[in-house]
């Protein structure tokens, strides 16, 4: 077995092993370290001799490393405690994993990884590593940051969890909704990094978006009665469905209006619509509303035949439950399609007057497009050039400059 085989087994087993070990040792940091040691050992020994039961091998090795760590820690303290822990860990982990309990443990693992005491970057790194089963190198590649940065984030996160005394349990009922929102936003941040890369020379990174979709599917399976989870899953599936049509052969972005809709992934749309139906049971939340907007696009045979009035209404609703200048800007784009560019321009100008999105390339991008549609070409060109200067994604920048040049 090679590195890729070890990584594959680890992906499947990581959450279960870290969750089970945390449950039995009561120490998330120790459990995670022990699990990582087991993977490191597997990478050395499996290429020489493949174990008959790779999953069992990983669990047994991780358990031994956890016991070693507890021994080292208690050696200088209480030898009676050592004996007690040793027996407890040995017998508890040896028992067949209870499928009902392991679900709650994996859920608890998600809540711990996305705990509010952690920095947003640490939540992302920890979730991908312990729940997603990604290596530090894979996380670094996904977020275009150096490997030591990811390592430092994870180390610090584990220290923070220990220092803050974060318990390994499902949040109490009173906090459940808010904490679930925290988990959803971590998954959404990961998805967004894949669907609109904030930096670098690629617009889409489907492999990163895939990790978020996978996490959202897991969460939806473990929390089937939470509409917001299905809303997020629907949003991710419906957005990802457009990926095949969103970039040209050279990697340059293709706007919704110019996309070849036959290239959309119809099975992903079907999954997204099914998730959206589950999200609609108690009224749509912010993710569900965005998913409903994506669904309206997905159901439109063309830009012209899209139900823009419905999209405007959905953006208005979204602006109320989750007010944000970006939502306002998107509403302006929808208004332009439903009622014409003049009304839309008024919304954009108000955003500018209130300085709601300072430094964003999106405002001049939209303003430039609207001015162009109104025939105010020199102003439009100036806006698009401004947008290009502010844009960090090289692919998007060259499209903006091409459009600006076309207006001269």
């Amino acid at each position: 077995m090679g590195t890729a085989d070890v990584e594959a087994v680890w992906r499947i087993e990581s959450a279960r092993i870290v969750a089970a070990l945390t449950r039995f040792t009561g120490d998330f940091g120790l459990a995670e370290d022990a699990a990582q040691e087991a993977v490191a050992e597997a990478l050395v020994s499996w290429p020489l001799a493949s174990p008959a039961n790779p999953a069992g091998w990983l669990m047994a090795t991780a358990r031994r490393r956890a016991i070693d760590a507890i021994r080292r820690r208690t050696a200088l303290q209480d030898r009676y405690a050592l004996l007690a822990t040793d027996v407890a860990v040995d017998s508890a982990v040896d028992e067949e994993i209870d499928p009902d309990k392991i679900d709650d443990d994996i859920l608890a693992l998600m809540f711990v990884s996305c705990h509010p005491v952690l920095s947003p970057e640490a939540r992302v790194a920890l979730t991908l590593r312990v729940v997603g089963g990604l290596s530090t190198e894979q996380i670094a590649r996904a977020f275009l940051v150096p490997v030591p940065t990811v390592q430092a984030r994870i180390t610090r996160a584990k220290k923070t969890i220990a220092a803050a005394g974060v318990p390994f349990e499902l949040p109490p009922a009173a906090d459940r909704r808010e904490r679930l929102g925290g988990v959803l936003s971590v998954i959404y941040v990961i998805f967004t990094e894949g669907s609109t890369a904030t930096s670098g020379d690629r617009l889409l990174r489907p492999d990163v978006a895939y990790e978020a979709i996978r996490l959202a599917r897991t969460l939806a399976a473990l929390q089937p009665d939470e509409p917001d989870v299905h809303g997020l899953l629907a949003l991710c599936e419906l957005t990802a469905a457009r990926f095949p049509a969103r970039t040209g052969p050279d990697g340059s972005p293709i706007l919704l209006a110019d996309q070849d809709r036959r290239r959309w992934d119809f099975s992903a749309i079907r999954r997204g619509l099914a998730a959206l139906a589950k999200a609609s049971t108690r009224g749509l939340g912010p993710y569900g509303l965005q998913a409903a907007i994506a669904a309206a696009h997905a159901s439109g045979p063309s830009v012209e035949a899209t139900d823009w009035d419905r999209i405007v209404v959905l953006y208005e609703a979204l602006g109320r439950v989750a007010p944000s200048p970006v939502v306002e800007l998107n509403r302006a784009v929808a208004v332009a399609m439903a009622s014409g560019p003049a009304q839309a321009l008024a919304i954009v100008d108000e955003l500018i007057a209130l300085d709601r999105l300072p430094g964003s390339h999106l405002v001049p991008t939209v303003r430039g497009e609207l001015l162009a549609r109104l025939g105010r070409r020199p102003e439009a060109r100036a806006e698009l050039e401004l947008a290009a200067r502010l844009c960090a994604n090289q692919r998007e920048r060259s499209v903006l400059l091409r459009k600006a040049a076309a207006l001269s």
Partner: protein, 123 residues
Amino acid sequence: MPKYLLIMRGTDESNAAMMADIHEMMAKTRQFIEETVKAGVLLAAEGLDDPGQGVVVDFSGEAPVVTDGPYGETKELFGGFFMLDVASKQEAVEWAKRVPAAPGSKIEIRRVPGDDEVPQVDE
């Protein structure tokens, strides 16, 4: 991300072995499906009826020829599938090893190419 089809291929003997303990096989299959759903990798799964109940439409001649019964002389017949959305071929293999399958049966793993790999027709 890569999708893989896990194609279950059974022989008369393996199908008989499976039918002998069909309830246990079904319980194990349900458990496998649940695991793949919770891992976020299962897209679809179906099991097929007895190959003897199948119909073959053969396009060798000018007009399609329809015959009842199993496909050709093959010993291993397609009996069901799992469609997985996984990170790598190795992960598809790892999941395939966990599929409850009767002794003597096989699983063929085939990748589903992405849209960008299919040659585009210029219009």
